[in-house]
Symmetry: C2
């Protein structure tokens, strides 16, 4: 089934708003096994909209038009559809009644602008909108069905699910996804090999977002291919779907009855912030220390000033002591520490911006075991800090699984 879309609104072309309907519809259409033929964005102009409706309807089975159904004079999509169909607008009695009921429930009476929202082309039908005053419209133009939906996403998306989804004749596609961290994008792509071929079924959509490499698999056999990708990316693959590095690591800790604390310097709280983004993290994450200044590394964690002077705050010794002392002082199973130079200033030849030490203390045995790993993260201050947080979580996860691996950007 071939589906095209048209987003209408001045604000989408003058910098006031970003069109989110196009990408949202692409995902929905593809996951249903249909083809997204074309997407257009147009301002609130009667002739332009009518022309686009006629043009697009010539090459698809279903045309979805969003926006321009509001009560004000620049909302013209309804009129444009009537123009494209060569018919008049008539009032829909059911839509008028629902509109009046909706207003009277709030003790108000609809004005003339609002009543325009009960108009539809003759031969067309209104589609009920549970979230707002503007009903959608379903019309036919030759063999093509045309559906008008309101522009606000919180109205459009439920109406898509209620009214459009039942019209699709594709099969809901099996879908599955895999996420990984610590593997280079090029390496991840190469490991996929022919799995990533564009014409292959199931289709593998490969994305990198905030340093997480992700494969979304759509089509018959998605779960199997997903499992194969997970093996290709082992041990860097940490989960699928909605998993995050924090959620899978917390789950591993929870299943062992273990707890974790942090001692953060260059991340300044992002690591704790990441761990506590997971609902229910309080049974595993106790808290920790933000020791951004060198003085607090000494005051709160007892790291001798001469160790900081001799090795610098960004050093193996300091990372190890931060991890160990946080776990020891707070009575946690694991301590995780970060110390580094996030930039853009503060770098040196020996320790350029992006140099980060991550420390891990495992106090689960009779004697605490400790390790520290050095990284050189590329990118902006925000990227260096985000990558530090994710690398720390990945190191803890791999440690919990007993996996050995050198992460991307790690230096031996």
């Amino acid at each position: 089934m071939r589906i095209s879309s048209l987003a209408v609104g001045d604000e989408l072309l003058d910098g006031r708003a970003v069109d989110t309907h196009g990408p949202w519809l692409s995902e929905r259409i593809v996951e249903h096994g249909c083809i997204h033929v074309e997407h257009r964005v147009l301002p609130d102009e009667l002739d332009a909209i009518a022309g686009a409706i006629r043009g697009l309807a010539g090459d698809c089975d279903l045309l979805l038009v969003t926006g321009g159904l509001g009560p004000t004079s620049d909302d013209l999509t309804r009129e444009a559809l009537a123009l494209a169909c060569g018919t008049e607008l008539v009032e829909d009695p059911g839509a008028r009644r629902r509109l009046e009921e909706r207003y009277s429930a709030r003790g108000r009476v609809p004005g003339p602008g609002n009543l325009r929202q009960a108009m539809r082309p003759a031969d067309a039908a209104c589609l009920e909108n549970q979230q707002g005053t503007a009903p959608g419209i379903l019309a036919s133009l030759g063999a093509t069905r045309v559906v008008l939906l309101p522009g606000p996403p919180h109205e459009m998306q439920p109406m898509y699910r209620e009214h459009v989804l039942p019209m699709l004749d594709g099969e809901p596609r099996e879908s599955s996804s895999v996420q990984s961290f610590g593997i280079a994008e090029s390496d991840a792509a190469e490991r996929l090999g022919e799995l990533a071929d564009r014409d292959r079924i199931p289709l593998v959509c490969f994305k990198v977002s905030d340093s997480v490499v992700r494969a979304d698999v759509h089509g018959p056999g998605a779960a199997t291919v997903s499992e194969a990708i997970r093996e290709c990316w082992h041990p860097f693959a940490f989960g699928g779907g909605e998993d995050t590095l924090a959620s899978v690591t917390l789950e591993l800790l929870r299943s062992r009855g273990a707890t974790v604390v942090v001692a953060e310097s260059c991340t300044g709280g992002l690591l704790g912030g990441g761990l506590t983004s997971v609902p229910g993290s309080s049974s595993v994450f106790l808290g920790g220390f933000l020791t951004y200044s060198n003085h607090l590394k000494h005051q709160l964690l007892g790291i001798p000033e001469e160790v900081i002077e001799r090795h610098g705050a960004v050093s193996r010794d300091v990372a190890l002591m931060m991890a160990m002392e946080s776990a020891r002082r707070l009575g946690a199973t694991f301590g995780l520490s970060t110390t580094g130079i996030a930039g853009p200033d503060g770098g040196s030849e020996e320790k350029p911006c992006g140099t980060v030490w991550i420390g891990l203390c495992d106090a689960s045995g009779t004697q605490p075991r400790m390790s520290a790993r050095r990284f050189r993260f590329p990118g902006s201050r925000d990227q260096v800090r985000d990558r530090t947080m994710k690398a720390a979580l990945q190191l803890l996860r791999l440690h919990l699984l007993g996996e050995e691996a050198t992460l991307l950007w790690e230096q031996s």
Copy 2:
């Protein structure tokens, strides 16, 4: 000057990638005083692209086409332009030479696919690409100029600035912006009054993103209107352009030689993470305590267990003590604390999800002064935590400025 755009690429319609060119170009075109007439997204299909080029060129002065200039067989934009112009592709000697130089600098020889990148329609010209192998192309179709640009944003955007910008006959528009936090969107819009009229010059583009209400003002007199908006939104307006609540608050602290520490419960590190997102924050932000568990509130901050038992961890007393003890123990001018129920579980009738106390201790005088404010933040766990962080920064900022104001979502 009327400008249309066309983004080409299968990946933009099958869920693999989101088209970012449309919104990016809208902003650039509008800030230059030109009109963005229409934007389209099409797959890598020869006839569809050629048809769209012909169609769009009929109604604009300049048509920008992105994507489909790569070396592989599904990159067809070059061929589509030749088809639309009714001409043949010929090799551009200069482009061929630059391509060969680029490859030989890396000790390689371009293959046949790569050499296709030196082809252009007869009568067209190549546009140099400093960031990649695919040159752009400039052609004419009737009175309309057509420019092809490569799809990767890091190639497209510099080429837009180098080659397209000089073609625009609009005047670079004066631009300015204002950001605010703690004011309801509807209130912010109402306070703008007729300043927000759609046909007004300068144009005010109003956006809400992550609870920050922002006005971007484009056109002659932007700075003056921006200043007027800042007054309308006083004291919630915190800055313009690239300012963040963290950056302006840190700057206020720095100008007074003051320091700040945090004691975080429900934000779990996000507040420290926000403060340290600003380069150079180490002269002002010392560090702090993550006291996520009740036990650590007692162990690290000395909050008596009976206070927590009597009032609950989410209470005025605990927020006040967290702020005071963090400032006192770490020797800072200001202590900022958060304790709340981020959800989705853990709420009660008395303290539903989204209930948060924020504490502030000002130790700048001879006696510390303290205050705590209660909020009921709507939204998801992530939103509650993000809003808590921003509200804490806004409260500190207003305190530093001596401004009194009740923030959105605050409860008396």
